[in-house]
């Protein structure tokens, strides 16, 4: 299981990298925080944490992370990749936070703001994540609570890429997946037992 995993946590400069590293440390998973091509090449799994705005994140990702190396690791070597929060949103083709920005385009879809449902935005707090298929990343659980902190959501173009949904005024994908590429809108590194479970299942991929 995780005993053989070697995780490379990518750090584009505005990510919640330390918390992810702390959790991997607690789970006793070998990991490194690095953007180097050798670390990416050496890893068995890649994680991209992210907080902040879509456009700013994409700019910093392009500036700090060797995308060709990551692309090769993900799409040629098929290493499992986990994008967290903004790290999931950048998987889209485009996002419209503070203007229209181009994403990585690894999972078809776009990112937009929550519609006005009369509920406070950002979506902040613990909410239910319901798996569309089980078993999946939630193990044998159909629904688990995770911590969310976002004002924008991912609109998946292909429903097959939606692995779990959450409802907050509207129902949106909380876990997206396309083969070895996984995105979670919530923060597993802040979601205590549920987060640990999800990470352990991701590391089994």
């Amino acid at each position: 299981m995780s005993a053989d995993a070697r995780v490379c946590v990518l750090d584009y400069g505005s990510g919640n990298v330390k918390s992810v590293a702390n959790l991997l440390e607690y789970l006793r998973v070998e990991h490194v925080v690095s953007n180097s091509e050798s670390a990416i090449g050496d890893a068995t799994h890649l994680v991209l944490p992210g907080v902040g705005a879509f456009g700013a994140a994409m700019q910093m990702i392009r500036h700090n992370i060797p995308l060709p190396a990551v692309d090769a690791a993900v799409h040629v070597e098929h290493k499992p990749f986990l994008g967290i929060c903004v790290g999931m949103q950048v998987l889209a083709e485009s996002g419209d936070e503070f203007g229209v920005h181009e994403g990585l385009g690894w999972i078809p879809g776009s990112v937009r703001r929550f519609r006005d449902h009369g509920l406070p935005v950002p979506h902040m707090g613990w909410n239910e994540v319901s798996a569309t298929n089980a078993p999946g990343l939630l193990g044998e659980h159909r629904t688990l609570d995770f911590y969310f902190l976002h004002s924008f959501l991912f609109e998946a173009a292909n429903p097959a890429n939606v692995a779990a949904v959450t409802t907050y005024g509207e129902t949106f994908p909380s876990i997206i997946r396309r083969d070895n590429v996984v995105g979670v809108q919530f923060h597993p590194e802040k979601s205590q037992k549920a987060g640990m479970l999800l990470l352990e299942n991701f590391l089994r991929l």
Binding site: V51, A56, P122, L149, Q192
Partner: protein, 268 residues
């Protein structure tokens, strides 16, 4: 369904974990890191960690303890983030965007700003643009002055002349993602929240509001949850009085059928 949150607040003063009474009296409780470990072990929903030190003297005054005597706030936060397994808001003495960046990179998920939000009208906007609104909490401390609630800054020492409801609307417009509303008069008094002001602020804004100030019994949390639309209820002192406090508070709220996470335990 999204749950409402129960949030412990940890106050740091000159390196000590403290209890606070009306922003004017402080009781030293001890190490500012170990308590966070306990709060994590009780699966707290979130943590708010506030530095209320007015100078830069951080000193536990002895070097013979099991935990190191940290002399800077950033070192303390570094230690804290290693034992925090829930989202953490860090606040206190935030003056520049760099202050925010440093704390985020040390493990904070959100930053709370107070005095600076008032002194520099562009600060909230600039912070939200760089880090995202969801990262920016504006903390509003208020107390009764001449019969009306007034927003105070600088640890309750400077009167802004503003009404908390009006100020809440302003900070929302400027891009704050969340409001931490704290009653100075009720701080440490254990007589319950200021339900009236909390309700009015919640009605005035669309961003989440956290209530703080005055909890002496678990029933006080219930009052705020039942009588206002507040998104989260917070308290500092009470969680330091009994063991497994957060666990039992959650159990109490769950048994009273409030929309909260069920109690849980994590072994660290």
């Amino acid at each position: 369904m999204k749950k409402r949150r129960l949030i412990p607040v940890v106050l740091l003063r000159n390196g000590w974990l403290v209890q606070s009474i009306q922003f004017s009296r402080y009781l030293n409780l001890g190490n500012p890191v170990w308590t966070v470990r306990r709060l994590s072990e009780w699966a707290s929903d979130e943590l708010i960690y506030l530095d209320i030190t007015s100078d830069d003297q951080y000193d536990l005054r002895r070097e013979d303890l099991g935990a190191p005597n940290r002399r800077t706030f950033l070192e303390i936060i570094g230690d804290v983030s290693k034992v925090t397994f829930m989202p953490m808001t860090v606040g206190g003495k935030i003056r520049t965007l760099d202050d925010i960046q440093v704390r985020l990179s040390l493990g904070a998920d959100k930053i709370s700003i107070n005095t600076m939000a008032f002194d520099d009208p562009t600060f909230i906007g600039r912070a939200a643009a760089q880090f995202g609104s969801q990262c920016i909490v504006v903390s509003i401390d208020y107390k009764e002055v001449g019969g009306a609630p007034r927003v105070m800054v600088q640890g309750g020492r400077r009167d802004t002349g503003l009404d908390p409801v009006a100020w809440a609307r302003t900070v929302e417009e400027r891009g704050a993602g969340e409001i931490l509303l704290n009653s100075i008069d009720r701080d440490g008094m254990k007589s319950g929240y200021d339900i009236d002001t909390i309700a009015r602020v919640c009605e005035a804004v669309r961003i989440p509001v956290i209530a703080q100030g005055g909890v002496g019994r678990w029933e006080h949390f219930e009052e705020a949850l039942s009588r206002t639309s507040v998104d989260a209820v917070a308290a500092a002192n009470i969680f330091q009085h009994t063991d497994q406090s957060v666990y039992y508070a959650k159990q109490h709220l769950m048994e009273a059928h409030h929309n909260v996470r069920e109690p849980g335990l994590i072994s660290l």
